[in-house]
Amino acid sequence: MPLRSDIKKVLMIGSGPIVIGQAAEFDYAGSQACRVLKQEGLEVVLVNSNPATIMTDKHMADKIYIEPLTLDCLKRIIEMEKPDSILSTLGGQTGLTLSMQLAEEGFLESHNVKLLGANPLTIHKAEDRQAFKDTMEEIGEPCIPSKVVETLEDAMDFANNEIGYPVIVRPAFTLGGTGGGIANNADELHEIAINGLRMSPIHQILVERCISGWKEIEFEVIRDAKGNVITVCSMENFDPVGVHTGDSIVVAPAVTLADREYQMLRTAALNIIQALKVEGGCNCQFALKPDSFEYAVIEVNPRVSRSSALASKATGYPIAKVATRIAIGYSLDEILNQVTGKTYACFEPAIDYIVVKFPKWPFDKFVYAKKTLGTQMKATGEIMAIGPSFEAAMMKAVRSIELGMNTMRKRDFAAMSDEEVLNKLHDVDVDRSFCVFEALKRGISVDTICEITKIDKWFVSKLKNLKELEDWLSEGDLTQEKYDTAKKYCYLDKSIEEISGKSLKECGIEKRHAVYKMVDTCAAEFSADTPYFYSTYDEENEAEEFLKQHPTDKKKVLVFGSGPIRIGQGIEFDYCSVHCVWALKEMGCEAILCNNNPETVSTDFDTGDRLYFDPLTFEDVDSLIATEKPDGVVVQFGGQTAIKLTKHLQEIGANIMGTCAESIDAAEDRELFDELLEKCDIPRPAGETVFTTEEALQAANRLGYPVLLRPSYVLGGQNMIIAHADSDVEEYMKIITSHKLENPVLIDKYMMGTEVEVDAICDGTDFLIPGIMEHIERAGIHSGDSISVYPAQTLNERVKKVIITYTERLAKALKVIGLVNIQYVVYDHQVYVIEVNPRSSRTVPYISKVTGVPMVDIATKIMLGHSLREQGYTSGLYPECEYIAVKVPVFSFEKLHDVDTQLGPEMKSTGECLGIAKTFSEALYKGLIAAGFKMQYSGGVLFTVRNQDKPEIIDLASRFEALGFDIYATGGTASVLNRNMIATNFTYRIKEEKEPNVITLLESGKINYVISTSETGRDPARDSVKMRRKASERSIACLTSIDTANALVSCLEMHKSIDDVEMVDITKI
């Protein structure tokens, strides 16, 4: 069946801001979908609130709305744009849920809009727990004994009287299993069930028999309207059932199943997708009892997902593209397999390597958070590694994940006794795979480890191979045979030296570079032309062969990507890398990408001219450069991951395009930076560099509290705090020194002024500032966590001029070629520089979109020698556009227990969304709505603030009071308010052990907003943290900055609804 003739104009719903459970994979899927729809000549209308995405780029769709993903907004856009169809299955859970709600309300029918991909019945059958169970029962596919309940009593009754403990609680319609968990007894169930019922938008949870310890197997399946079905890939979780698949190490294909079990589950997956009548991709998760053929269907997602992104990258089969073509009418046997160009989409990829996916967790930032894993996903991102063996892929994976590890040996375990290691095996946490390795090193048997962890013996045995290999390396002489064997397992030279305790040079070892094999979907059965490679240590170098067969006169440029998505380094760097590649191609260069993140557009094999799916370490990069011999390399778009390579690349003689290594060093090295500022005559807050706790205390007292502490070479404000007293400094230095950081700690005088951020483009002579951004929150809150406004609203012309001048001086002094990001603080009408990053930044995508200045494209062209003037730009600040854009951060606090929600200098947000409007207040309103704030006009506001904030809340509280809110506050705060004639209800603190206290008040449902600030935080045992956690768990908006609260209250004072504000098509800006 060809393209359906009744489809002309399609609405695509994106997945919104990056949160845990919904990351860059939907930008990848959505971008693929948009490209397919446009190729098919359809008109595409796109809605996504996330400005850092590639899919919201002007040429991806005909109409683009960066608007809140709410039903009201979508309805307005549908009424305006009158699409004939909606593609529901490519925008993650957000897109699917919204599509279903629109359908269920009858809105789609009344507006003649068709739902493509999955119809409402399909979605209902897959998503509604009871409907799903009934469907599975009809087709004879076993489910886990479970019951859907809507009350706590029913949940308790089912567990106590029917299935017994442990039980798993899964809330309906939540992202990444939010609000679920395993309950081992009635008390635990009580707590988890209450939480789960609240988290579910339809107040429904599933209580089911716990099958922890079974194997977890996934299949990615595709079906077309004719009923043709195939499986793209199978996947097996290293961690057995009980750990969310997003938090598990996953291998593809499944490795411990004999053909009989494999086909049994494959057939089940096909039966399920047939029964659900999905037209497109579908993910089926199974639990398989390790000692029998018994299995159960865990979950089915009738849409593209994180797993489908992984399966696409693992096999080369572009699931999102194929799913989109199917949704608009094509059948699998009509869609050509792009990889081979010879075969059709109606085949199952055969692979001749193994893939390991490793999650990236945020616990290097959230030191106090529980690192345990369960049914609620906690990872912010992931990496993928491809190798000829599990061991090799695992070695590549551990160094891709950027934990400072190159092997499975984790330092923390070294100090533990054997018994402690054995005990630690019982903990299901983020370090489990490393603990298993340590246990093997301690001589604990494979069987014992399997018994405790329930991890399959196959995986544990493979780790044992690595242990034995390391033993062999460390015994006797380091021979060429040993070296070659270790290389086959993808050990770095550095690690081989470390483990053997010998130098390769002294042992006369002939070093080897990696060679590259192609990912071709067919295990070499057909010749393929896909420029998609991974490294191995074999003889044949297919990449080299490919280069010989495709000679070119073009300039070859290698672009390094940004690795896994984490807090502080998100999807925006993928946006930048991809744009760089596109610009390079446009300029007639050959663009080569290297990255290891399977969720992204940059690792789509047809984004660049060639893709290398490999780790981003010095040695991996050396091999790549030896094969590719690029004319230039680009590091400034891949975040800190790529920047870290700069010095090394320069040492090996690579031609770094853009800002040079010395300049990057000058911006990051404290002393060099100070010299630079002095030379430029630019002030910065006073500061010192220290190594020890004593030095830190002395420095802090010299500068005077409050002071800002951070390690040099930071990313996303990692490990950064504001210290108000000696005790804070002591606590901080204890944590830092335990991390064995080699770099010094920086202490700065903390100035609580207005924070201003500038991204500039410089060609060495001229500089262009597309826009000046101002933060709503005063300095002290990380720029990534602040609400950022373009153009700046409160700066006077003089200050703006100073900022422009400073930017020019810095850009020139640093000899910036390309992008630079500078953060300023304006304090007492003086402008100070806080930080300079001679690279792309988080704000580049949004500023590019709002101002219409394609920053990355311009910067890339500058690197190729085309000056700003040649490109038609003049020096200075670009004229401000008529729209105001407000970027609002989005957090994933409900998924991370024990993380203090109080904002500070350390970044905590996982994503962002944008509000665009002609006035500041409307833009802010949209931004807040998009970020999930509910505009409520009555109820209660709870204040509990530190002393220094007390004077400021009087005005704030009176504004809330005037709006009709009841005001509540704790002791000191309450008396300040009451003294100022604001009728305030008193409530106890937790430690006062009397009621009503803040916790019971939050549970009562009377509170809509919490304004909480405290001197200290972080430690979950502290009352203030407990209170904020409670607010987060109850989904009560908790504002930890008076500035944010003021912004919110001004929105409320407008008394507007989304119907009153204009929907902006950014392609028209």
């Binding site: 004719k226 009923g227 043709n228 079905v229 195939i230 499986t231 294909p253 490795v255 411990t256 199943l257 004999a258 053909d259 009989r260 494999y262 086909q263 494959r266 057939t267 096909l270 390790p290 000692d291 029998s292 699998l332 046997d333 010879k342 075969t343 059709y344 109606c346 085949f347 199952e348 990829p349 055969a350 692979i351 001749d352 390597y353 193994i354 000829p388 063996s389 599990f390 494979v446 399959d456 013996k457 196959w458 045995s461 044992k464 191979n465 034995e468 290999l469 062999w472 045979e481 040993k482 064997t485 067919c522 295990a523 070499a524 059965e525 057909f526 010749s527 074999d538 003889e539 044949e540």
Partner: protein, 364 residues
């Protein structure tokens, strides 16, 4: 793992390429036709599939032996492969049915194996050059002499090797049909699929005469898979010619499909490197549906060699358009090139056994 301790083995191809790897299974020297399969599961089924007789089988999937071997998943009572090539063999298999390791399996059946070679490189050579003979050896060798021996090797007439000369009977629980299964080297699951559908199955030797077969008064005849060049079996083709006239419902798989085509005046041709794997898309032209199938064949029926008078091509390979099935009009017969009995591979075309049952019902 035996780091640094395994014995060296070599794989020598007729084009002179030599791969140095390590020995597993039996030691010694063997020559065979070197082929590759892209199947990612079911190595035990592959090793026991009689259609691989005379061949050195390469697994493109690099991790072999993960779940060990067991006494159930046999597709014949032994292994007919000449040699076995893998990237990595698993010494510590894990599966609840695992009884032994792949290494011991090869030793038990006297199969010479080689591992730790770049199987992708090997596959690419075979893909580009076409199937070629090869030698695995754990002994010192002289390349020139080895190449001469390799050059002289022919798979030859292998059906007699994997068939038997005795008749075997298998009873269904509630038998409804009597089916003769022509054993050209049949895979056990063909028999299991029939018995499970209520067929009493009589397995007959490859060279049984039409009279012997008809004497059993079968409701249907199942033509099995088997190894080698179909044209090497003129006696079998002659027998089939006679059977066509008897108008007995007939279902052919793989070699059975090729033999029936030859009996109906069709032609077969050797493919460059065959179809061996579990992911081959086959379009059923009548249903307009494409199915994923398990395949293992080096020869194919030429599409336009099937005369309109005898029948028509019913299935084609969605990748290369080669003939994957024929529906006959001159007899109640249909045949397929792929393996609906799976094992290993997908069971998506098991419905063809149901169609065979239906056909027998119609003619009963």
């Amino acid at each position: 793992m035996n780091f640094g301790k395994d014995k060296t083995a070599y794989l020598i191809l007729s084009d002179g390429t030599v791969f140095k790897g390590k020995s597993f299974g039996k030691e010694g020297t063997v020559i065979g036709e070197t082929v590759f399969t892209t199947a990612m599961t079911g190595y035990q089924e592959t090793l026991t599939d009689p259609s691989y007789c005379g061949q050195i089988v390469t697994q493109t999937f690099p991790l072999i032996g993960n779940y060990g071997v067991n006494s159930i998943d046999y597709e014949s009572d032994g292994s007919a492969v000449s040699g076995y090539v893998v990237r990595e063999k698993c010494d510590m298999p894990s599966n609840f049915r695992c009884e032994d390791s792949i290494d011991n399996f090869l030793k038990k059946y006297g199969i010479i194996g080689i591992y730790d070679i770049d199987t992708r490189k090997l596959t690419r050579i075979i893909r580009e050059t076409g199937v070629m003979n090869g030698m695995i050896t754990t002994e010192e060798f002289q390349l020139e002499k080895a190449l001469e021996e390799i050059g002289n090797y022919k798979v030859g007439r292998v059906v007699p090797k994997v068939s038997t000369d005795k008749i075997e009977k298998f009873q269904a629980e509630n038998p409804k049909f009597n089916v003769v299964l022509m054993n050209y080297g049949y895979k056990y699951n063909i028999r299991r699929e029939l018995v499970n559908r209520g067929c009493n199955v009589t397995v007959m030797p490859w060279n049984s005469s039409a009279e012997e077969i008809c004497a059993l008064n079968p409701d249907g005849i199942m033509l099995s898979n088997g190894p080698g060049d179909p044209a090497d079996n003129p006696e079998a083709v002659e027998t089939l010619k006679k059977l066509i006239e008897k108008q007995i419902p007939t279902f052919g798989i793989c070699l059975g499909h090729q033999l029936l085509a030859l009996a109906n005046g069709g032609r077969t041709v050797k493919l460059k490197y065959g179809h061996r794997g579990e992911n081959q898309p086959v379009t059923d032209l009548e249903l307009d549906r494409t199915f994923v199938t398990s395949q293992n064949h080096g020869y194919a029926v030429v599409n336009d060699s099937i005369s309109e008078k005898v029948g028509k091509v019913s299935h084609i390979n969605a990748n290369d358009g080669t003939c994957e099935g024929v529906k006959y009009s001159n007899a109640p017969a249909f045949t397929v090139q792929f393996h609906p009995e799976a094992c290993g591979g997908p069971h998506d075309t098991a419905y063809l056994f149901d169609e065979f049952i239906k056909l027998m019902e119609e003619h009963k």
